[in-house]
């Protein structure tokens, strides 16, 4: 199964939560999910649904705050 995570191709079965962990990497100060939002195919996936498995072709965006005007 293939999916895109923050614009990069990934392979293998995964849930939304797996994708979040992968995106955050080792430096997961935000591992609690604080200040993180996830979109799959443009739609918000609330934290309560992060256990959801991804489907082939899904585009996952894991986003957080950055400096901005």
């Amino acid at each position: 199964m293939k999916f895109a995570l923050n614009g990069r191709a990934h392979d293998g079965p995964a849930t939304v939560a797996d994708a979040v962990r992968s995106a955050l990497g080792a430096a997961s100060a935000a591992a609690s999910g604080r200040g993180i939002a996830v979109a799959v195919n443009g739609e918000v996936v609330p934290r309560s649904e992060w256990h959801r498995p991804l489907r082939d072709g899904d585009a996952v965006e894991v986003l957080t705050a950055t400096q901005g005007g």
Partner: protein
């Protein structure tokens, strides 16, 4: 107490600080503190596993509120999706709505902006739209249910100051929601002028974050907004074409 009220939330400070452009988190924290602001903007971007600390930590330490923006969005759909994600990430339904027409001018796209504003208001967001200095568009945004309107002084990051004070004054005169001058402020006198024209608040980022001494400029902006507000409330004297002596000629010596 001359407080600013937006959608029922009260603020002692009439300065909203954008966090974009700060060289590092320590400098940003100093600027936030010196500005006296109670609300700062952030953007939503892909997580960076290499990032050292989060801007959210800075904001939390400073004890100020977060106003997420939709910076970079070009369509109503992108902006609406970004606002929904921001609500999820930051647990706030407040959004600085930004829908730009192109990346050179960064000017708002009025058609997409109004479309996004209507959708987000319908979804229960508190919408603060970054808009052109167009009184008709400002009115339409207010009618759509926006909690404030935020006309630009000049394009984002230009520091050109208020390009059309007449339009800004017109927007202030007609609006029943707070008018927040957003973008284009270059220095303290620009911020004071916005307040003198009748704005309820000023939102700026670059003018502070890219100043040679951001914390000092933040203090200058705080004082300028406060001075401009006081001048507005005090009621300025009318402009006259000819001089009017402040010292009486009566009793003048025959020398």
């Amino acid at each position: 107490m001359d407080e600013l009220a937006i959608a029922g939330r009260r603020f002692g400070s009439r300065l909203i600080l954008g966090t974009g452009g700060a060289a590092n988190h320590a400098q940003l924290a100093d600027a936030i503190t010196a500005s006296g602001t109670e609300l700062v903007t952030v953007a939503l971007r892909r997580v960076d596993p290499a990032a050292a600390g989060s801007v959210l930590d800075v904001i939390e330490r400073c004890g100020v509120g977060v106003l997420p923006n939709t910076a970079g969005c070009r369509t109503a759909e992108q902006a609406v999706r970004t606002a929904r994600l921001a609500r999820e990430a930051f647990a706030t339904d407040w959004v600085k709505l930004e829908v730009i027409g192109d990346e050179d001018s960064l000017l708002p796209d009025p058609v997409e902006l109004l479309d996004a504003a209507e959708t987000l208001v319908g979804e229960g967001f508190t919408v603060l739209p970054y808009t052109n200095d167009d009184p008709i568009l400002a009115r339409r945004l207010e009618e759509a249910g926006c909690a404030a309107v935020m006309p630009l002084a000049a394009p984002i990051g230009t520091g050109l100051g208020i390009r059309n004070p007449h339009n800004l004054a017109l927007i202030c005169e007609q609006a029943e929601v707070p008018v927040i001058c957003d973008a284009g402020i270059g220095t303290a006198s620009d911020a004071a002028q916005a307040m003198e024209l009748g704005c309820s608040a000023v939102l700026l980022a670059t003018a502070v974050t890219r100043a040679a001494d951001p914390a000092l400029m933040a203090r200058a902006m705080r004082e300028a907004v406060s001075a401009g507000r006081a001048a507005r409330l005090a009621g300025r004297i009318p402009r006259r074409p000819l001089a009017r002596a402040s010292t009486s000629f009566e009793g003048i010596a025959d020398l």
